[in-house]
């Protein structure tokens, strides 16, 4: 298995399109 933890998610927007069954990564910096 591969598990993407929260350290590696830092600084990126993570998008959960639950209805559309897709997961996205966006520009980060939380700004």
């Amino acid at each position: 298995s591969f598990l993407l933890g929260n350290v590696q998610q830092r600084g990126h927007e993570v998008h959960y399109d639950v209805a559309g069954r897709r997961l996205g990564f966006g520009p980060g910096n939380c700004s």
Partner: protein
């Protein structure tokens, strides 16, 4: 010169001191994403300087890693349980404890209002958990939390789920309880052979997120809340968990939230956010999407497809068929990214090769084995790591998403092996 330029574009050059966790809370940020059909909440690192939960104390890196490892084992155990026959589940060997509630490696929390009038509780964000729960008053035996205990008797919108209801029957199917059913309360009782556990009852109430309300009557079922009365766990000051997975009992499913996003702050002194509802179209064009896999045994988690990892611009040598066999999951509650052993070995080897000029340091716990002593340096050049997902989605990690720092003398590659020992 060209080769050097190429190398530089595949690495970060940063000052060593900038890698250290900040000690001052940086609140500067543009407004939270808001607008029609969406609402946002602040997200704060539990152990960072903006946290109101940690009282200025942070666990050691070893302690954080130990908790993260425990969480992984208990989650793995839960996943495994669904794949084995019932007769095996009943054996003593199989039910040996997975102390879920003593594991608190979750790093980020948000504050939400429950009930009417509003009562504020700090909940850990967890896309790897199902139920949203908080400790409730009266709490017979509860772990310490920073917020006042949620008091159901003061909420006009709070209502217990009766035991004779269809909802309770479904919940007891998912979370078996040994308690006798009484008409007023639908109990859950998660107990482990070492004496730890959680007990309480199921309820519904209103949750308020900024100006937008997620109300029970907007949903197929009311907003479901696990009300804990007795717990031997520890959430390091938080009041409970916001379960964000795709199971039938999560807040996402229960409230028909079809879209949410978050940003976990980096550096983790500043604040991040979680937004419920879809962003505007101008912004979404910068988002790259990969499909969430839907298979029956994996459906409650957010499983995606890994297609590769690059270190310093060079892809690790694994075939496409290798990745098709992998189960890949994203989890906001897990701290360290885990890889299969062969992939971790390749990643570590490539990373060490590019970091060979730096002095090695002892590992952190039994989990992080590639650490460096950077006391002799003002700046450090760290190879960029990019994780590739199906659909041409590349996640280029922030330098603080590559390294985990205990101190300048112990800066570690923030990846570890996914344990293969199912025992």
């Amino acid at each position: 010169a060209s080769a050097n330029d190429n190398n530089l574009s595949h690495s970060y050059t940063v000052s060593v001191t900038s890698l250290l966790p900040p000690t001052v809370c940086n609140r500067t940020r543009t407004a939270l994403p808001q607008g029609l059909g969406k609402a946002s909440l602040d997200v704060v690192s539990k152990h960072g300087p903006c946290s109101k939960l940690n009282q200025g104390k942070s666990p050691s890196l070893e302690e954080t890693l130990r908790r993260d490892q425990q969480r992984l084992y208990s989650k793995y155990s839960g996943r495994l349980q669904k794949a084995v026959p019932d007769n095996l589940k009943k054996t003593k060997a199989f039910t040996f404890p997975a102390k879920i509630e003593s594991v608190s490696a979750d790093e980020y929390y948000t504050v939400v209002a429950i009930g009417k009038p509003k009562q504020y509780v700090s909940l850990l964000l967890d896309t790897g958990s199902d139920v949203t729960w908080t400790q409730c008053k009266p709490c017979i035996h509860c772990f310490q939390q920073r917020d006042p205990l949620f008091d159901p008797s003061k909420s006009k919108t709070f209502s217990k789920i009766p035991c004779n209801s269809t909802t309770c029957k479904k919940l007891r199917g998912l979370f078996p309880s040994d308690d006798n059913c009484n008409s007023r309360e639908c109990h859950f009782n998660i107990a482990y052979v070492d004496g730890s556990g959680n007990s309480g009852f199921w309820a519904t109430d209103r949750m308020t997120i900024q100006e937008a309300n997620i109300k029970g009557y907007f949903t197929r079922y009311p907003f479901l809340l696990g009300c804990i009365r007795n717990s031997s766990g520890d959430k390091s000051g938080a009041s409970g968990i916001m379960g964000l997975d795709r199971s039938p009992v999560s807040i996402i499913t229960k409230t028909k939230i079809s879209y949410f996003s978050y940003c976990l702050p980096s550096p983790y002194g500043s604040r991040g956010y979680i937004t419920f509802g879809k962003r505007n179209t101008v912004k979404t064009k910068f988002i790259k999407y990969t499909p969430i896999i839907t298979t029956p045994e994996q459906s409650e988690y957010y499983d995606i497809t890994l297609t590769g990892i690059s270190v310093g611009g060079k892809k690790l040598p694994f075939s496409t068929s290798y990745f098709t066999k992998l189960s890949t999951e994203i989890d906001s509650g897990a701290v360290i990214t885990r890889l299969p052993s062969p992939m971790y070995a390749a990643l570590r080897s490539a990373f060490r090769k590019r970091m060979k000029k730096y002095k090695r340091a002892k590992g952190a716990g039994d989990i992080l084995d590639t650490c460096y002593d950077l006391r002799a340096y003002e700046t450090v050049v760290v190879p960029k790591i990019t994780i590739h997902f199906l659909g041409g989605v590349d996640l280029e990690l922030d330098v603080r998403g590559t390294l985990v720092v205990a101190s300048v003398s112990q800066v570690c590659l923030g990846f570890a092996v996914y344990p293969s020992d199912t025992n």
